[in-house]
């Protein structure tokens, strides 16, 4: 599977970031495994340590398995001013996890992230590729319930 | 697209498609679409205007609508506003009159 993803890209070093993105996005647990790193290393002919160097540099990559849905709550000042800490507390309590953890059923991973640039509607979070704005404690509960029902 | 003239052609066509957002409008037709206007057939009148304008390829004429104009006995009422000229109001409009007025 990893080899097929690699083969979509030319075997040049500058494609590393895109290969990592695609491997992580298509993995059901949204992470980059040791086997994946080995496969990329063979394909691009770069040492594994270089790949780990790159993948641990960027905050979006994970070397640990994660949930089906990745919640990324903005931790920047504009969202904080608008009450993101209340939203975080609520998320932690309804999911029963701390930041960086995955729910027992494997459905959600809770993460904090840098500014998402939707500050006019702060506080905001992204769940996978969707942005949710003007969050309140009630609103996040609704959103999580909806996604729970969908999956 | 190889020349500025090619670009200009595309631009003219595209501007025509965007004429509702302002720009090159010579005549504005305002159809009174209050309850009594609609009851007397203002929707048909408006639709006929739209069809006639499209059929005659009048690129600088715009159709818009407004609420009750107060002239219930004359409905459907249509204002014709041409740049630099006094407004003309037509009463008792119907699709046939619309077709004639375009001539």
């Amino acid at each position: 599977m990893y080899k097929e993803i690699c083969a979509k890209y030319a075997p040049t070093k500058d494609n590393l970031i895109y290969i990592l993105h695609e491997i992580q996005d298509t993995h059901p647990q949204h992470y980059i495994s040791e086997e994946a790193v080995q496969a990329i290393s063979e394909y691009l002919k770069v040492p594994e340590n270089h790949i780990y160097g790159v993948l641990t540099f960027y905050s979006m990559y994970s070397t640990k398995p994660r949930g089906k849905n990745i919640i990324r709550l903005c931790e920047s000042p504009p969202c904080y001013i608008k009450g993101s800490d209340n939203v975080l507390r609520k998320l932690k309590s309804i999911l029963n996890v701390s930041v960086g953890e995955t729910t027992k059923d494997g459905k959600f991973t809770l993460e904090l992230c840098a500014c998402l640039g939707v500050c006019g509607n702060a506080p905001v979070m992204m769940i996978n590729d969707d942005v949710y704005g003007d969050l309140s404690e009630e609103k996040v509960e609704e959103i999580i319930d909806k996604i729970r029902g969908r999956n | 697209m190889k020349t500025l003239a090619d670009l200009k052609k595309i631009r003219e066509k595209a501007q025509e498609d965007m004429k509702l957002r302002g720009g090159n409008v010579r005549i504005k037709i305002v159809v009174g679409m209050g309850t009594s206007g609609i009851a007397m057939g203002a929707r048909e009148v408006m639709k006929t205007f739209l069809e006639e304008i499209a059929a005659r390829n009048l690129t600088d004429v715009l159709v818009t609508q407004t609420g009750e104009k107060g002239l219930s006995s004359m409905e459907p009422v249509v204002d014709l506003i041409e740049e630099g000229k006094p407004k003309v109001t037509y009463g008792n409009m119907n699709p046939d009159k619309v077709k004639k007025s375009g001539g």
Binding site: H21, Y58, C115, C119, N121 | R11, L20, G32, M33, Q65
Partner: protein
């Protein structure tokens, strides 16, 4: 045959999308079909209209009526009252002391604004090449390629006084001249869309709302310095911006506005999108270049203080908003551009207003307007009429200014001097 009589512009910038504008668009489709007037209404998804706090917002032409905080439940009323009967729904308009403000142009938020880079943002469909062309798009590129020499292009930018909008305020023409004068078999231009500063979303909105403008600006810059390849480096947090730029590149290639022998001038250009993976520092030029090369985004010293190199070749890195000004400068002239702003800071500047301010959102004002005007006239003042305490200008490297600084102009010199 077009029977359209209404243009319904729904803001689909990330802010309004997060507030539900896509669901509203779907609802419009349903209700228009119920009333059997689908053929009379154009539904257009635009980029950011600016007043994010009022989202989801929309503007309805030909009247230019502005509705705010529209919900799915309001759609039926808008269609039956406004579209069918011609009676705009006043409760969805903005109100100024009880009085409804119908037209977008009369909304106070827009009144002190002057839109250059944001000219089309919220006015055209960003996914339509034709709409960009209708506003005069690609005319500047055509004129530059067929009538001007690269050095003339650089001289015109010099005359306009354009400076980098990323924050540093470095004169754009000097960067271009460096690369122009550097002989190399290949040169690159990079559009820096790694907008990481908390609270900033100027570049995101431009990339999402008017992608062809950025493409056109990039090609003019590339021609001036002899670059044949361009990269859009956009942060991975901006999936919509990435999608829109990719789409714009495809559209431009399809009609021959990008690729080989553009406008029959012999100029060839190709561009692609590169994304980051979450690293604030990648907004720094060298870190960004390393990231494009597929490495860790570590900032490294440059061999020459002004000249960047990617893959060892001379490279210009310009910010999105800087590039966004270029097509308009060529369409309207250097003199027009330099007539706005202050002596040393020419033109306009886009700001993102966030925090405890009434009108959060995206605005564009002439350089040199005071913080007071920006915060109170455009921004509407503090929420709940609280006392203003402080404003943070720029990102982490900017500074906090207090009430004593409210009369500071927002331009490169004044703000630099004011920040303690």
């Amino acid at each position: 045959m077009s029977l359209k009589r209404i243009d319904l512009l729904i803001c689909c910038g990330s802010g309004c999308v997060s507030a539900g504008s896509l669901k509203i668009k779907e609802r419009f489709h349903e209700v228009l079909a119920e009333h059997n007037i689908t053929s009379e209404v154009n539904i257009i998804e635009t980029g950011c209209m600016g007043p994010c706090d009022y989202g989801p917002v929309m503007v309805i032409y030909p009247e230019g009526i502005f509705y705010k905080k529209v919900t799915v439940d309001d759609v039926a009323e808008i269609v039956s009252e406004h579209f069918v009967k011609g009676r705009p729904v006043s409760r969805l308009m903005l109100h100024d002391e009880e009085k409804a403000i119908a037209a977008q142009k009369d909304v106070p938020f827009y009144q002190k604004q002057v839109k250059v880079a944001l000219e089309n943002c919220g006015y055209i469909d960003p996914e339509s090449l034709d709409e960009y062309i209708a506003t005069g798009g690609y005319e500047a590129l055509g004129t530059v390629l067929t009538e001007m020499k690269p050095q003339d292009v650089i001289d015109l930018i010099k005359e306009s006084g354009l400076r980098g909008r990323g924050g540093g305020g470095f004169p754009t023409h000097i960067k271009w001249q460096m690369v122009h004068d550097n002989k190399a078999d290949e040169k690159y231009i990079i559009c820096n869309g790694d907008e990481g500063d908390p609270g900033a979303f100027m570049d995101r909105s431009l990339l999402e709302g008017d992608p062809h403008r950025i493409l056109e600006g990039m090609m003019i810059a590339a021609y001036a310095m002899g670059a044949t390849n361009g990269f859009f480096y956009i942060r991975a947090e901006y999936p919509l911006a990435i999608k829109r730029i990719k789409m714009a590149i495809e559209q431009a290639k399809e009609v021959g506005l990008m690729g080989k022998d553009i406008f029959g001038s012999g100029f060839c250009f190709d561009a692609e999108v590169r994304t980051g993976a979450g690293a604030f520092v990648c907004g720094e030029e060298m870190a960004l270049i390393h990231s494009i090369e597929g490495m860790r985004g570590n900032p490294t010293p440059k061999l020459h203080i002004l000249l960047c190199r990617s893959w060892g070749k001379p490279t210009v890195v310009n910010n999105v908003e800087t590039i966004g000004n270029i097509p308009t400068i060529f369409r309207k002239g250097a003199e027009w551009f330099s007539s706005m702003g202050t002596e040393k800071s020419k033109g306009t500047k886009v700001f993102a207003l966030t925090g405890d301010i009434k009108n959060t959102g995206l605005v564009e004002v002439p350089m040199g307007i005071t913080l007071r005007e920006l915060i109170f006239d455009v921004g509407g003042g503090m929420i709940g009429n609280h006392k203003f305490k402080a404003v943070q200008l720029g990102g982490p490297s900017g500074g906090c200014l207090t009430v004593d600084h409210l009369d500071t102009g927002v331009d490169y010199e004044s703000s630099k001097n004011a920040v303690p």
